[in-house]
Symmetry: C2
Subunit: 246 residues, 2 copies
């Protein structure tokens, strides 16, 4: 029985123009790995309703969960909530419960909750709110799609509130091993090792430390014992073994 | 006549597990914006051949260019070149021209070009090589798909060699305006401004500077004159205008 799976959908022109650097994918990836939910795919789409709808529908059909970031603020380019409602064919409007939490952010809600800010209380029918202790405007979940803010601090705090609700799996454990040999030297023995251990995920990433070529070998498995054994074995094999061709 | 369009495909388990933070998307986005090529979508997929093939085929059918990063090294988890060949239905093997450039990286190619390293000279039939002045192992283009390394320094230098070959469009120019008012206060006037100027792309991004809420309004257009006019107009409208509801 495998772990639950997930995809991330980053929404925003500013990421694709290079103006803003996304930080939420890396944060989500680390959080899900710790929870035993396997992040399998990520997409970045612009603030275009048809693109958001197409991506959400493709991803929600395929993975246990979809996490979105961006586009839930008060301005005209924040169209995520409406796009999600359209993707599910649900009605959307200002919801009393969302309005109640949003109001707590304003000393004088009657005056300060203008039309633009009210957009942040628009939530598709039947959605479950996701708490936002920082700026109050809530995120929400519709079925397996979890809609969160793009501002990294708010994305992180929303995720923290959301994750305990979700069923996790066996967290993937990993060990990294720095080998001070060029990647091409250990690739042969590493391939053999990976072939002998189909139950492990084995990756190799080159490093250049001040002109000295090395690489980081990463082994991943949910099983702590296999992981320790794999690491010990790799240390022996990669440090002593010469390349096959020698 | 619109600009050429593009998508990015980031390939690698290490991005989805959170072990490595992607830096190539942001670099590509900035470079393409400067060249007048519109980056419209990005995807991250794992080191799984079927996933790479499906993503490449979906993206290359839809956009003028597809830029990939990752998976072209010597180890068993580097499967991008074979996946690209399969996506196009092309034969792949060690190619003499790729081998010739790769060889220049080794003092004794006879001895050091082992089986693993030879993988880096595997290139689909008909592909055009992309130069790699750093570690020699080339990237390549097949039709509109440009295959580059995941190591950011190498990705950047490959892109630098590749971009002059591609036809650009009108670079999108942008102006940013910091407004020290909360996003919800200017959202009304900003929406009206955006509606009056459908030729401009107008975005708004909240900022919290030591507890003071403000936002950055970004206007984009390829036309320098419209941009200057828009900026001047926004300065007047957003700084003097009160919210609609006041």
């Amino acid at each position: 029985m495998g772990n639950p799976t997930a995809a991330m959908l980053v929404i925003g022109d500013e990421i694709l123009s290079g103006r803003t650097r996304d930080r939420n994918l890396a944060h989500l990836a680390v959080s899900l790995t710790g929870k035993g939910i396997d992040l399998r795919e990520a997409r970045v789409v612009p603030d275009v309703e048809a693109e958001i709808i197409a991506a959400v529908n493709a991803l929600r059909a395929r993975y246990t969960h979809v996490f979105t970031s961006g586009g839930i603020g008060p301005t005209h380019d924040d169209i995520t909530a409406d796009a999600i409602a359209a993707a599910f064919g649900l009605p959307i409007g200002v919801r009393e419960d969302a309005l109640a939490v949003l109001s707590t952010n304003y000393a004088d809600p009657e005056r300060e909750l203008n039309e633009a800010r009210l957009r942040m209380a628009r939530v598709p029918e039947g959605a479950v709110l996701i708490d936002n202790p920082i700026s109050k405007a809530p995120g929400f979940s519709v079925e397996n799609v979890h809609v969160m803010a793009g501002v990294p601090e708010i994305f992180a705090v929303m995720l923290e509130g959301l994750l305990p609700r979700l069923t996790g799996g066996r967290p993937l454990l990993s060990e990294s091993l720095y080998i001070e040999r060029p990647e091409g030297d250990i690739a042969g023995p590493l391939r053999e090792f990976a072939a002998r251990h189909p139950e492990l995920s084995v990756g190799c990433y080159p490093r250049n430390r001040g002109g000295v070529l090395g690489c980081i070998v990463v082994v991943r498995t949910p099983d702590a014992e296999s992981l320790a054994a794999a690491r010990a074995q790799l240390e022996v094999e990669l440090i002593r073994t010469d390349t096959q061709e020698d």
